[in-house]
Amino acid sequence: MNKKMNIIIGSLIIWSIAPLAWQLYTSFSSPEALVEPFSQIKNRWTLENYIQVLTADPPFWKYLLNSTIVGLTTTFITLLFAIPAAYSLSKLKPIIAKSARLILFGAALFPYVLLFLALLEFARYLNIGNNLIALSIPYSALSMPLAVLLLSSAFKDIPKDLEEAARLEGLGIFQRLRWILIPLIAPATSSTAILIFLFSWNEYPIALTWISKNDLLTLPVAIARIAGSSVYSIPYGAYAAATVLGAMPLLLIVLLFQKQIVSGLTQGAIKG
């Protein structure tokens, strides 16, 4: 552990936090302080920005709630579909499984923003725009490839004998899944779940085109709509307060589930 290393680590931490810290600082700044961030001003600090954001119509927590709803339903639907699929994939003949993986990998790479137009037509055709639950259908599909890849590698790691023994005991395929296999892949499932949740919480282009009602907006779209004004003469204090409030839940998620996120990402890399 030497000095050079400390400096590098220190700058890494500063680089990661500084923009966030600046938002935090801005969010507590009075309008006068905003204009002159580095000068001495009497009324530097204020809570006004937060009050403004929380009492707006609709109040800010509504967006957080909307994003949470979409996040939870998406995670649920994705896992519901992905676990059986991943199991099945781990049992297929290697040659088929390999090509299936390749296709899934391609789909996971695909910049899905390019799908928005067809998905918009889809929403209009089925009349499911402005519906948070419906929004989790495309979200589930978009997070499916990664989820299946992660889970199938977890299934593969389970010793064959274990399942074989259960089969000889007379357990059917669903029973085996429910009582033996799913509990065994619980760690992989939880990290997959968190990655899915993060994805749908943060997703922007699809939500932008599927939701137009103000009180149904998810957090990223609400933030972007706030930003849809010119760079000059806009109440940045309030925007900063909104970004801080919007970042809070994720801060918690990252701190609480750091291990799962890291293992989810790294498992994907090692097995993928």
Partner: protein, 419 residues
């Protein structure tokens, strides 16, 4: 376990929706208007008074849109594309109208409009509200390009392109100003507005009446050359190619330029105490070559009823209220919005208090719209690009304008406008 909780959450959300929709159905009729933020602020007094008067039956609810023009349109379009919009009225920029009308999103107003009311509008205010012979919009505030000039530096404003350059060079040589003329030269919509005025002043057209592309004409090349000459001769600063309205106004209000092209809002800014040129500014319309008419590009905002609205009658009443002569007067006095009725431009008392009103009325007489096609945004983008390359990269004017013509035709072809 997890499943159970999810169903519980779903149930809660669903019941919340039902409660809200039920609560809405028992209230007085609400007319929902989408407006850009500045308009929502300036009309808030008018709307508050209306709501107080009609407490029982109609209430106006204003959705305060973003500040930026295009962002408001994006918001409206995203709700219209999904098929169900919660808005009844939308405050529209003149360039959106053909697009919205062609998409079938806004309802024709012809059946509501009284002939006498229509004829009370100034000629320029009547333009830009129709598409394919039907009226879709009622103007709330007119807006048109103006030429601001320094009364203390010249007796009369220039009327021809040659005069403009002569006067400017003379004043610059005498050291009275740094720059002769400032305008909007950045690659954005403002450049198209500037060019349209000059193009007409040289006798040219963008797209002529029969829908033919005439942007590659000799007149268009002369007009583009004149704009470049402004920079080459030093009449306009090099930086003008990065100017929008604000930058031009900053230069002009600090007394560094003799002439400026801008919109009516600049007048109020120039009368503020911080302006060096307070009381020294006159207003007229853009220069034109001898034998051609002076033109000012029509801006203007107006209200349209969405086709999906089930309260069209009530919505039209709201339009009438917000655009009545009293409302126009109030918006002009408080916010400097250009009125639309002829009678207001003739109001002696108002002219006495606000001398600019005459000039605004004259400009509105010669106002011309930008091409009224749903494809306007793409066409304008092509023009802006070519003009910008002429102004900033010294591209060959002939080639650039021919290219603009070719690309314009391609857009019309690909979108199905021409077979």
């Amino acid at each position: 376990m997890k499943l159970k909780y999810l169903y519980l959450i779903l149930l809660l959300v669903a019941s919340l929706f039902f409660t809200i929709s039920w609560a809405y159905s028992t209230q007085p009729k609400v007319i929902n208007i989408l407006m850009p933020a500045p308009f929502a602020d300036s009309t808030s007094d008018l709307i508050k008074r209306y709501n107080d008067e009609h407490r029982q039956n109609i209430q106006i609810k204003v959705t305060r849109g973003p500040r930026e023009t295009e962002a408001v349109s994006d918001l409206a379009i995203s709700s219209l594309l999904l098929g169900r919009s919660s808005f009844d009225l939308i405050l529209m920029d003149v360039t959106w109208l053909p697009k919205y009308a062609a998409a079938g999103w806004i309802a024709p107003l012809d059946s509501f409009i009284e002939k006498a009311d229509w004829e009370s509008l100034a000629l320029g205010a009547r333009i830009g509200n129709s598409y394919k012979g039907k009226i879709y919009r009622w103007p709330l505030a007119a807006d048109m390009g103006l030429l601001y000039w320094r009364k203390d530096l010249m007796k009369n404003p220039p009327r021809t392109p040659e005069e403009l350059i002569d006067i400017s060079l003379k004043l610059q040589n005498e050291g009275k100003v740094n720059y002769g003329y400032v305008w909007q030269g950045r690659q954005y919509e403002g450049l198209s507005c500037v060019f349209l005025e000059i193009l007409n002043g040289f006798g040219g057209k963008w797209i002529n009446n029969s829908g033919d592309v005439s942007i590659g004409s000799n007149q268009s090349k002369e007009a583009a050359k004149w704009l470049r000459d402004l920079i080459d001769t030093g009449v306009s600063p090099n930086a003008v190619t990065n100017f929008s309205e604000n930058e031009s106004l900053q230069i002009f209000s600090s007394g560094q330029a003799a002439l400026m092209r801008n919109w009516p809002y600049a007048w109020a800014e120039l009368q503020k105490p911080s302006s060096v040129v307070k009381n020294k500014v006159g207003v007229t319309t853009m220069v034109a070559k001898k034998g051609y008419e002076t033109t000012s590009t029509l801006g203007s905002w107006g209200l349209s009823i969405l086709s999906t609205s089930d309260k069209k009658e009530e919505s039209y009443n709201v339009i009438s209220y917000l655009t009545s002569e009293d409302a126009q007067k109030e918006l002009f006095e408080k916010n400097g919005y250009t009125p639309t009725s002829t009678s207001i431009f003739k109001n002696e008392k108002l002219i006495k208090d606000f001398p600019i009103l005459n000039a605004l009325g004259n400009a509105l007489e010669v106002a011309k719209p930008r091409p009224q096609t749903p494809l306007y945004a793409q066409l304008s983008d092509v023009l802006q690009r070519e003009l910008s390359s002429i102004l900033t990269e010294n591209k060959n004017i002939n080639d650039s304008m021919n290219k603009a013509k070719e690309k314009t035709s391609q857009i019309l072809l690909a979108s199905g406008e021409i077979e």
